[in-house]
């Protein structure tokens, strides 16, 4: 029969972190080359701001915009992340690459972590553009509270949570029929606690009233708790969802 054992290539199993880095660099290089996801999310964010403009144009002077801006920023972020998440798996699905990666002997959760990190980076990039833009359009009349800088923390925790849960749901809805509406229907109820906590914390930071701490720290702790629990659950369940 054929010659028994031909000289086989040496295979040194890479560490999980090395595989994570390879997958992440693939995502980043692909996005850097096409810039498809970041531009589509950025444009969507600008469009949402324009819709806000129409919605608030008449009332902007009379109402206290500061107390609502926390909520408006987060509404902007939720819908922008939805458009991004919908496209996050389009490359994998297009040429069946997800199966190519599933063929590699690696832990499925590494795929999850790499994809969640890349989604987090893209979402954070868009937020860095969209939030200041929002402030430019709506909050120029609002005096800057000393605690304004503190909105960074809820933004950070919220984006981590949304990227984490969103990546899991995007994997599930990637090859279903009504893909984008299904992702929204699943994403928003599941993300509600995080959203509620982040909006409260952001609004407290923006208003910066005397006892702003008690309206700030508790929601922040809740958001952090949500992130930890949800990312853990998604980490464990991802193996089932991706190879279904």
């Amino acid at each position: 029969m054929a010659q028994q054992n031909r000289q086989r290539l040496a295979l040194k199993h890479p560490s999980t972190f090395a595989q994570y880095r390879t997958l992440l660099s693939k995502d980043l290089r692909q996005e850097f080359r096409t810039k498809e996801m970041v531009t589509s999310m950025g444009i969507f964010a600008v469009l949402v701001i324009i819709v806000y403009g129409a919605a608030l144009a008449l009332t902007a002077q009379s109402i206290d915009i500061a107390s609502m801006s926390g909520g408006l920023i987060w509404a902007l972020i939720v819908f922008t992340s939805l458009t991004g998440l919908n496209r996050s798996f389009s490359h994998e699905k297009e040429q069946g690459c997800l199966e190519g990666i599933l063929l590699v002997p690696l832990d499925r959760s590494v795929i999850y972590l790499a994809k969640a990190t890349s989604n987090f980076i893209f979402l954070a990039l868009v937020e860095v553009i969209a939030v200041p833009l929002f402030m430019f359009f709506f909050m120029t009349t609002v005096p800057f509270a000393p605690t304004f800088g503190m909105i960074v923390w809820p933004l950070l925790l919220g984006t981590i949570g949304m990227a984490g849960v969103g990546t899991m749901l995007a994997t599930i809805t990637a090859n279903t029929r009504s893909r984008d509406v299904l992702l929204a229907v699943l994403f928003i109820p599941l993300i509600y606690p995080l959203l509620y906590a982040c909006v409260t914390a952001t609004t407290a930071a923006i208003l910066g009233s005397a006892q702003w701490m008690d309206l700030y720290t508790m929601p922040l702790v809740m958001a952090a708790g949500y992130d930890v629990i949800m990312l853990l659950a998604c980490w464990v369940l991802y193996g089932f969802a991706v190879s279904a």
Binding site: M1, A2, Q3, Q4, R6, R8, L9, A10, L11, K12, H13, P14, A18, Q19, T22, L23, K26, R29, Q30, R33, T34, H91, E94, Q95, G96, C97, E99, G100, I101, L102, L103, V104, P105, L106, S243
Partner: protein
């Protein structure tokens, strides 16, 4: 006898509820053999191949790939398998080299750059290695897919209807490549193309509705006898 076998499957079943896509199939594929699997659509050929590629878990039955149990130590089994499917599984926006480097690093190939260069040369795409795969023709993309499937030098090469969508010239180039990598590798091919599959294979297997209908080594029958047998068995199954 066991170590002689590349793939050993016992009573493989893939069922969900009462529907059995693959129903109690046992296979012994010796090392270096070329098994061609034929059968009508919906016979469970692709399901069987996906099970062999450890992409889907069998509902019951045992599967050993190169002596390694594919259910318990799936990772070790995956080191030995390369899959070429009608989907190329490469990223269109990345260049051919970047795609192969990605898989080479994921598999943990010792010297990825050298290995990738060698493979690209073997498939004759060295001159186009920096262009994104999006700009490649269907035939060239299929050759990148072959290179991707071989990047970690697998012992077993699984082919899922590799000829679909290829023009005659691309088919010839594909056959040439298969012959090149033939020595020392075991092949399992799912195909509709009786003539092409029969010419390449050492063993043939016909499936219908999840069962093995007939199975024989090639020298036991010539092509016309095989074609009549295929028409008869598959015809009867579907009637």
């Amino acid at each position: 006898m066991a170590d002689e076998l590349a793939i050993q499957a016992r009573h493989l079943v893939k069922a969900f509820g009462t529907r059995r896509a693959v129903d109690d199939i046992s296979l012994n594929v010796p090392r270096g053999a070329f098994l061609a699997i034929f059968g009508p659509n919906g016979a469970g050929k692709t399901t069987l191949l996906r099970m062999l590629a450890t992409l889907s878990r069998p509902s019951s039955g045992t599967l050993a790939i190169e002596g390694v149990d594919a259910r318990e130590h799936a990772d070790q089994a995956r080191d030995r398998i390369g899959l070429i499917s009608h989907q190329p599984m490469v990223y269109p926006d990345l260049s051919a080299e970047e795609n192969l480097l990605l898989y080479a690093r994921l598999y943990g190939v010792a010297d990825p750059e050298a290995r990738v260069r060698e493979l690209l040369d073997q498939v004759g795409l060295l001159h186009r290695r920096l262009d994104p795969v999006r700009t490649f023709s269907r035939g060239m993309t299929q050759r990148v897919a072959i290179a991707r499937a071989l990047v970690h030098d697998p012992d077993i090469v699984l082919l899922d209807e590799p000829y679909s969508g290829l023009d005659p010239h691309a088919v010839d180039v594909f056959d040439q490549l298969i012959d090149q990598i033939r020595p020392g590798h075991t092949f399992v091919m799912v195909s509709h193309d009786l003539r092409k599959g029969f010419s390449l294979c050492t063993h043939a297997l016909v499936m219908a509705r999840g069962h093995v209908v007939t199975a024989d080594s090639k020298d036991a029958l010539d092509f016309d006898a095989f074609e009549r047998l295929y028409r008869e068995t598959v015809g009867m199954g579907v009637a």
